[in-house]
């Protein structure tokens, strides 16, 4: 199913706000202003069902604000959007999550003084014991609790956290907390997951397995929308890339095309976005001189522009 969804993207024009053959999320005229500053001003965006879509852009481009708006954590000044054909504008964060759109946070929100297992169980849906009256009668919720625990154990094993299940979440490393937050979001079998910088702070060894998890999610039919600054990851796993700058959607397309787009390169990536700064080659004199020349030429061009 997901392969078809990805293939269908081939026919989509590479323009901002392009219509998709089978959109799961459609947003129109979403704006959010903080005082005089317009943080988000997206005219139209569609997300294709069953694909991995990356949302990139420089710091302050409004990516996280857009996430907050779409998931009910912030209220827009104007705009409407539908998720699976159902309008979610003005709907509370809890209801958005219940509708099947579950998010994670840029600053990880592991529930520190609860164990990893309790964190996972909290992510499950339809636990009758979560109502005050039924909580008093364990037979009403024990069966469901067993199901939830089995599911949690399976997910923890997949995310390599199984050994940590009885530890407090606060004792995990930053990367493990990211994994836990993602695993917890998956407890409710969401139709769409919104990951806010899933790779930030995760060590390279974990990155590879995290990428694998995200891809297998898509292969199982879940739609993934994520914000990320790591261009290697974006190029590696996304089927479609949307670029935001200064609150607006400025470009869309498959990763290869978008990253070659001069507008995107200028706005965000920079001419040397592909250069590994850790590469020793950069220490070479000639490379350094080359970079200096480029910088000087750029500055000159900029000065001329201003005149």
């Amino acid at each position: 199913m997901s392969a078809e969804a990805v293939a269908a993207l081939a026919a989509v024009p590479h323009t901002p706000g392009a219509p998709k053959p089978d959109p799961i999320l459609v947003a129109d005229h979403v704006t959010r202003r903080f005082g005089g500053m317009t943080a988000v001003d997206v005219q139209h965006i569609e997300v294709q069902r069953g694909t991995i879509t990356a949302l990139i852009g420089p710091n302050g481009a409004g990516k996280t604000t857009l996430f907050n708006l779409l998931t009910g954590f912030d209220q827009p000044n104007s705009g409407s959007w539908t998720f699976e054909g159902r309008s979610l504008a003005g709907v509370s964060a809890a209801r958005v999550s219940k509708a099947g759109m579950v998010r994670t946070f840029q600053l990880t929100k592991a529930l520190s003084r609860m164990t990893v297992m309790e964190n996972m169980r909290l992510g499950a849906k339809d636990q009758p014991g979560e109502s005050l009256a039924r909580a008093l009668v364990p037979p009403l919720w024990r069966a469901r609790e067993t199901e939830i625990t089995a599911k949690a154990e399976e997910l923890l094993a997949r995310f390599k956290l199984y050994e940590k299940r009885d530890d407090f979440a606060g004792s995990l490393s930053g990367g493990q907390r990211k994994l836990l937050e993602m695993a917890r979001a998956l407890m409710s079998d969401p139709t769409m997951v919104m990951l806010d910088e899933p790779m930030a702070g995760v060590n390279p060894a974990l990155t590879q397995s995290l990428l694998g998890h995200i891809q297998s999610l898509r292969d199982e039919g879940t739609t993934v929308l994520f914000v990320e600054h790591d261009m290697h990851m974006v190029r590696h796993i996304s089927d479609w890339v949307a670029v935001m700058a200064e609150g607006r959607l400025v470009a869309e397309g498959p990763p290869g095309t978008v990253m070659a787009d001069p507008a995107v390169v200028d706005a965000y990536l920079g001419a040397h976005h592909d250069t590994d700064l850790g590469d020793d080659a950069l220490l070479d004199e000639s490379v350094a001189r080359q970079l200096e020349r480029e910088a000087a030429a750029e500055e000159q061009a900029h000065e001329e522009d201003q005149r």
């Binding site: 998931t71 999550s97 579950v102 946070f105 520190s112 003084r113 008093l136 004792s171 409710s188």
Partner: protein
């Protein structure tokens, strides 16, 4: 110095009705603070409302079950009034609103405009509302001595009240134990840790916080009834100091534990009594008068609370590991 008399006086505090009332109030506060992270600084307000609701409806001639329902209804409405505007805001706002609201209850209760309902600042005499509770006692007239303790069977500060009070405390402990280990309690703990995370997992945080506020408040109002049954309803004896003693008890025993509030209340009142009795026996009246020793006891309480928060923030029964982790 008469050691036996001191020991008996102190041991009597361990199971006094007042100790049970404070333990129950702290159990209610534990649901607010320990489980949900709500900063309720108005527990005395819930207690006073419960006491007024029970006493005034009994004086009006209502049967005891109706009077209890009135107390529960009063605290539920009070929780709703406090919660509706503040539970959507950050935690600190609830703290400010609850402390102010508890004072409003006390000041309205003691205002002369309500003299024929609440008795204003002189309050309601104990004899005017105790009869329905006494009538239920199976122990009859007279008084009984068990070991060194002699109390009346059914009247006022009686064995009957002690039995009922501690049964209620035991039931409340059972309730908290059950809820803490249920999925409902798990959601509350999640809210204590991070509201937004719980919201992102599809739980209606506002409704859960409201349920916790009401439940803890209702338990507080029952504590208020237990508190006034051996004495009179005195609005000025149920003000801010009472709230802070309940907090001290909760932190002493250990928040987010089942028996912390009970242990805290027993320790608090017996140690306070110990300081007073020993002080009276040891310190000559030329150094400190009896009234000053009373005050001295409270100073010790204040210092203890400070030391506790600095050196053992998890309380006596709290889990050190659970608190060692830096939140956020």
């Amino acid at each position: 110095m008469d050691f036996e008399r001191i020991l008996v006086t102190v041991a009597g505090e361990l199971f006094a009705p007042t100790t049970a009332a404070y333990a129950l109030a702290a159990i209610g506060l534990n649901i607010h603070f320990g489980l949900t992270g709500l900063l309720n600084f108005g527990q005395a307000g819930f207690m006073l409302l419960g006491a007024y609701g029970f006493a005034i409806s009994t004086i009006a001639g209502w049967p005891i079950w109706a009077a209890l329902l009135v107390a529960v209804a009063c605290s539920t409405v009070f929780a709703l009034i406090l919660g509706i505007p503040t539970l959507k805001l950050r935690g600190d706002y609830l703290a400010i609103v609850t402390i102010a609201a508890a004072e409003i209850v006390r000041i309205v209760g003691r205002s002369t405009a309500l003299t024929n309902v609440t008795g204003a600042s002189s309050g309601l005499r104990g004899d005017s509302y105790k009869q329905t509770f006494h009538a239920l006692s199976p122990f009859g007239e007279g008084s009984t001595t068990i070991g060194p303790f002699t109390y009346s069977n059914s009247f006022s500060n009686s064995w009957w009240l002690r039995v009922v009070a501690w049964v209620v405390v035991a039931l409340a402990c059972l309730l908290v134990w059950r809820l803490m280990r249920s999925p409902w309690g798990r959601v509350l703990k999640g809210i204590r840790e991070d509201e937004d995370a719980v919201r992102s997992l599809g739980k209606n945080v506002y409704a859960y916080k409201m349920q916790a506020l009401i439940l803890g408040g209702v338990i507080g109002s029952l504590a208020g009834i237990l508190y006034v049954l051996p004495r009179a309803v005195q609005p000025d004896s149920m003000g801010r100091p009472m709230t802070f003693w309940v907090w001290t008890i909760l932190l002493l025993g250990g928040a987010a534990t089942v028996f912390g509030p009970v242990l805290g209340a027993m320790l608090f009142w017996s140690v306070l009594m110990l300081i007073r009795v020993v002080g009276r026996a040891v310190i000559p009246s030329s150094v400190m008068s009896t009234a000053q020793i009373e005050q001295f006891g409270w100073i010790i309480v204040g210092v203890t609370l400070m030391l506790l928060v600095i050196f053992r923030p998890q309380g006596i029964l709290g889990d050190k590991k659970e608190l060692a982790i830096n939140v956020r």
